[in-house]
């Protein structure tokens, strides 16, 4: 008897091949059989009308801290994500000496907007080495974790304060190579580094003080293990991005390792630049290098409130001047003054197409909580006023603590982004899951991929979309035995309705340690999520208390399972 049989599903197996109808039987944590299965299972799931696919792999997250209090990485798991890669952008939580905990928390706060209070109240600091951190997160782990180790923290471990001041000596580089080997032996899937990020004092993060020789020395260690290098290049400039990907290509060729860089956005003003970057990516792949650009599926959102000058208003000098030079009391007074208000409203008319589509994200008063989540246009209709008056009135009522979201502000060309997402040398990722938790929701990018680019636009087939976020990701990252529905593979499986899978509306929840809050999106159309053969989440029952998440690719003794990317 099998442990679990999934019957009558439409199997999209992750290979990109056409879907087919079949049952899938699981024994333990592996797929035992795919076909017409007559034997019974101890548990059975009817997937009639549903797609059965490999679990999705999210290669760019910052769940490092959340995993310490939430082994499910909620709500990522409920969206069908069965494997996450934390530790991106040069930042991981290990290895880390006790005296640098405050420093690293500051960097996470600055770069990834993780609240300081969550670290203070949600984290018991009982590790220093990478191995100890892995042991720590294994407790109660419901989602698979393929952790990167951050270049910045390796530098801090070896160099101390000098990591934030200078290049490394030959002896220090040798020491960093040794630390990296220890991390890879303990289960790190690769190394991350950054060329753009700033710390809590707006100084460059430690990895940015490294010279090319240091990066290459660390890449040589990755070569010993065949593991990946992730970088954040100067993504806002095409020439610098191309220079970095050329550097990555040389490293990839010399040490035979995969590399990936993120993000790569399509904005109205950089269409030509994206074409140039992708041409160079194609050229480097033609040389045999592996330089995978990561592209996110969701459009870019920008948040603001009137207490802080936002460049969103830079084309409205009257507004920008008030936001820039006014104290909160002066700004509120300006909004209340009839003559000033009349001028502001008149000036704002050039964006009258934008204002109704803004969404109210956050207010402080109970009275206005009922509007949170609604568009400004909807609130205007409810109040019998205009959208711009809604923004002004709410800001007065909330003493400027009314936060708005300008969604869809970039990376929103269906044609251009769709073409990128299905490009054979583009890696779908860059969700930033677990980060920026008070600016926007980083969950549901996979649901958005299926809802928008597969179902609504027909820009790619469901088989191609599944392949992109399962077997292709597993191959790029060297994650063994996952990403395909094949006999003998680990049973990470998602069952979803192809007609309804989507990301839910963004909502504000208070579930972060230290009474913290964040923006999340619920899953829509996802029925069941299976991790390592165990049901981890269902739409009916929610998260399962039995947890089977693993750390991938695991310790060095498991290296025989490694598959080359």
């Amino acid at each position: 008897m099998y442990d679990l049989v999934i019957r009558n599903g439409r199997v999209v197996d992750g290979s990109g091949m056409p879907a087919y109808n079949a049952d899938i039987a699981l024994s333990g944590n592996r797929i035992a059989k795919i076909g017409r299965i007559s034997e019974k299972g101890r548990k059975e799931i009817d997937a009639e009308g549903k797609v059965v696919s490999p679990g999705f792999i999210d290669p760019h997250t910052h769940f490092d801290a959340q995993l310490l209090w939430d082994g499910y990485a909620k709500p990522a798991l409920s969206h069908g994500v069965t494997t996450i890669v934390p530790g991106n952008c040069s930042l991981s939580l290990a290895p880390l000496r006790a005296e640098y905990r405050t420093k690293l928390v500051g960097m996470f706060n600055q770069i990834e907007e993780m609240p300081l209070k969550a670290f203070k109240e949600g984290v018991v600091w009982d590790w220093e080495t990478f191995s100890e951190y892995i042991t720590r997160i294994r407790k109660g782990l419901a989602i698979n974790v393929a952790p990167l180790v951050g270049h910045s923290v390796i530098r801090l471990w070896v160099m101390g304060d000098a990591a934030m001041e200078r290049t490394a000596t030959a002896e220090e580089i040798t020491a960093m190579q040794g630390v990296l080997r220890e991390c890879l032996d303990a289960g790190a899937i690769g190394l991350s580094t950054s060329y753009v990020d700033m710390d809590e004092k707006l100084q460059p993060v430690p990895s940015r003080y490294a010279d090319a020789g240091e990066v290459e020395a660390l890449a040589s260690v990755l070569g010993e293990y065949g593991r990946i290098l992730q970088i954040v290049p100067e993504f806002y400039d095409a020439d610098l991005t191309i220079a970095r990907l050329d550097q990555l290509a040389e490293i990839s060729l010399k040490y035979a390792i995969p590399t990936t860089f993120s993000p790569l956005f399509v904005n109205a003003d950089n269409v030509d630049a994206i074409d140039r970057v992708m041409r160079r990516v194609d050229e480097q792949f033609a040389r045999g290098a592996r330089v995978w650009p990561q592209v996110q599926t969701r459009p870019i959102d920008i948040s603001f409130c009137f207490a802080v000058p936002s460049l969103l208003f830079i084309r409205l000098p009257g507004w920008y001047r008030i936001m820039r030079f006014g104290t909160p009391d002066q700004i509120v007074a300006a909004f209340k003054d009839p003559a000033t208000r009349e001028k502001l409203v008149a000036e704002s008319a050039v964006y009258n197409a934008l204002w109704p589509n803004l969404r109210l994200r956050l207010v402080q008063t109970q009275t206005n909580q009922k509007y949170v989540g609604m568009t400004v246009g909807e609130i205007a209709a409810a109040r019998g006023t205009t959208p711009i008056d809604v923004m002004i009135d709410l800001s007065i009522e909330e003493h400027l603590d009314a936060h708005f979201l300008a969604a869809d502000m970039g990376h929103n060309s269906d044609e251009r982004v769709g073409a990128l997402l299905k490009h054979p040398r583009v890696h779908i990722g860059a969700s930033d899951g677990g980060a920026h938790i008070l600016s926007f929701s980083t969950y549901g990018d996979t649901g958005f991929l299926f809802a928008h680019y597969v179902r609504e636009l027909n820009a790619m087939s469901i088989e191609s979309a599944v392949k992109k976020i399962t077997s292709e990701t597993a191959a790029i990252w060297g994650i063994p035995d996952r990403g395909l529905l094949q006999q003998g593979y680990i049973a990470d499986i998602v069952i979803f309705d192809p007609q309804t899978i989507n990301r839910g509306e963004e909502k504000y929840v208070q579930d972060v340690p230290g009474d913290g809050s964040r923006y999340v999106r619920d899953a829509m159309g996802v029925d069941t999520v299976i991790v390592s053969g165990g049901v981890a989440w269902t739409a009916v029952a929610g998260y399962n208390a039995e947890t089977r998440g693993e750390v991938l690719p695991g310790q060095t003794q498991d290296a025989r399972q490694m598959v080359p990317a």
């Binding site: 753009v196 806002y236 920008i302 820039r324």
Partner: protein
């Protein structure tokens, strides 16, 4: 770089979801490049160009952009 001027300005999203300004520099040889500016750098740029709005920056020389970036990055030195 001599003679390069701002030919376009666009609002874009920074890494943290805030808005930033991306200016396009048009070079004498026909080339174009993009430079991202944070709020402090934009404020410095507006002041040095005597501009009150982003659109007023069009036509300004690249030296203003350079100086604004230097001013922004040297705040914490």
């Amino acid at each position: 770089m001599s003679g390069a001027t701002i030919s376009d300005v666009q609002i874009a999203a920074a890494h943290d979801g805030d808005a930033e300004l991306v200016v396009t520099l048009a070079h004498e040889n026909g080339g174009r490049s993009l430079v991202a500016l944070d709020e402090f750098a934009v404020r410095t740029l507006l002041k040095s160009c005597g501009a009150t709005s982003a659109d007023d920056l069009i036509g300004a020389g690249w030296e203003h952009v350079r100086d604004a970036l230097v001013a922004s990055s040297s705040r914490y030195g």
